[in-house]
């Protein structure tokens, strides 16, 4: 039985995550066909509702919905929409509700916005990133990418490097990776490491060089440049000196260890300019797997019987 809304990784059991990842394999195969489309969600309408800029997530959801033959409409809150005329989030939601949608993919600057939306509309709500809270589909596509490369997730040592405290990608990934049995360490400037990390079931360190030889995966987070304005670290140069990945640090890694990044990449900050072209930097894998995982999720969430129990998330 699948959930109605996907707001947080917390909602998913390991069995449900397994089902999502296994089904994604089938959508990976669909993506290799000449006709990259199946009729499963024909006649359903999916709305991309984006209150924050996005390239890969929005395009990925759109492609995933189209692979399932759903109709896709896109709403970006900018000067061309009613949001610029002062329409509230609730009124936007009620407008969408009146249009009879089957699913709303929402990205918002405020944490909790997708959950609020799920209380106002009948459609399934999929969280595509809410403030510093969660980005569950990113975590699922990362799990899928790891599983395809390593055959499994359990027992792997994963280091997440960067702004852990403000990152929704980190929050969702830490939940998802630890749930699936990986051993996660957060690495970064002390000001950007969460104070309560002990309760997240992870280790914390500021010393990247010491940890690198032990890791199977180095997961780099994007350095949000606005954080530097808020003075969480003195300068971008200092950040890359201590926590940026360069050739010297790559040589410290295990030969089979991989580098991941949710994008967009700041070359020269969290990663040296020429590294993203390395074979072990698998960001392109993450992007293409994202389509299969999101298709799998929409198929499982929307393709099920309509008499699903109330969402587990309360």
């Amino acid at each position: 039985m699948m959930i109605k809304h996907l707001l947080s990784i917390d909602q998913l059991s390991t069995d449900q995550i397994d089902l999502i990842l296994k089904t994604a394999d089938s959508f990976g195969e669909v993506g290799t066909r000449t006709i990259k489309k199946v009729p499963a969600l024909r006649g359903r309408t999916v709305c991309n509702l984006f209150f924050e800029p996005s390239t890969r997530t929005r395009l990925s959801f759109e492609l995933a919905a189209k692979r399932l033959s759903a109709d896709v409409i896109t709403f970006t809150a900018d000067s061309r929409t009613s949001v610029s005329k002062g329409e509230s989030f609730k009124d936007t939601a009620l407008t969408l509700q009146a249009m009879g949608l089957d699913a709303i993919v929402v990205r918002h600057t405020s944490g909790g916005a997708p959950k609020r939306l799920s209380q106002w509309v009948d459609a399934s709500v999929l969280n595509a990133g809410d403030g510093a809270n969660e980005h569950p589909t990113q975590a699922l596509l990362d799990l899928y990418t790891i599983r395809r490369r390593f055959g499994g997730i359990e027992g792997l040592r994963i280091g997440i490097v960067g702004d852990i405290a403000h990152s929704r990608v980190a929050r969702s990934n830490i939940k998802a990776m630890t749930k699936m049995g990986a051993q996660v360490t957060a690495i970064g400037p002390p000001t950007l490491l969460p104070v309560t990390a002990g309760s997240w079931g992870i280790d914390i360190t500021t010393d990247l060089d010491a940890l690198l030889p032990k890791l199977d995966i180095v997961y780099l987070l994007r350095v949000q440049k606005e954080r530097q304005v808020e003075q969480f670290f003195p300068s971008l140069r200092e950040y890359s000196l201590f926590w940026g990945l360069d050739r010297r640090r790559v040589d410290l890694m295990k030969p089979e260890a991989l580098i991941m990044h949710p994008g967009p990449i700041n070359r020269g900050v969290e990663v040296a300019g020429d590294l993203p072209e390395m074979e072990r930097f698998i960001v392109a894998d993450q992007v293409s797997n994202g389509i299969a995982v999101r298709a799998s999720l929409m198929y499982l969430m929307l393709g099920g019987s309509q008499e699903l129990p109330a969402p587990e998330h309360s």
């Binding site: 089902l19 006709i35 199946v38 499963a40 393709g303």
Partner: protein, 207 residues
Amino acid sequence: MSPQPLPSGIPNLPAGGADETGRAWVVLDELDVKRALVRMAHEIVESNRGTGELVLVGIHTRGVPLAERVGSRITEIEKMAPPVGALDVSFYRDDVGIRSPQQVSTTDFPFDVNDKTVVLVDDVLYTGRTVRAAIDALVDFGRPRLVRLAVLVDRGHRELPIRADFIGKNIPTSKAQEVRVHVEETDGVDSVVVYDPRVLGEATESS
């Protein structure tokens, strides 16, 4: 409605064997299944006049091992191995949104189907809806010259104008009954069992 587990040992009985409650009985045993597949292999080769342009496509789940076995029988007869593929029809079903999604298996077509004679292979032909979905899925891969259908069991009760070209065994059933095909690859034994939940046995409480 999730299928009830069969009483243990039932699938291993010889044909005609039944459990003590009388709710499950074996219609085809291991030898019967083997003979049926050999005969179907001969019929397929005969109607195709050899293995030229012939491909077999098993429908997940139990159609896949059955297709592989028919393929090996054809290889023994004709000394030519027809390509065998696997098709999952979940995304093409007409009950998406009505029943909850099942585990999806991976479709695997290591060959071109254009201008081929495609024999779809499944375990049981019942309403015909799976076969309808399979034909839709198949044509997404190309334009076969002919599409044929081979099933181990035809149990009747069609809801669509679909019929099988090669049939292992016709088993007249009631809609209340279930037909369970077991294959060695997934179930450890080859047999076809009919299960009738309406038969009230003595062992109802003890299980």
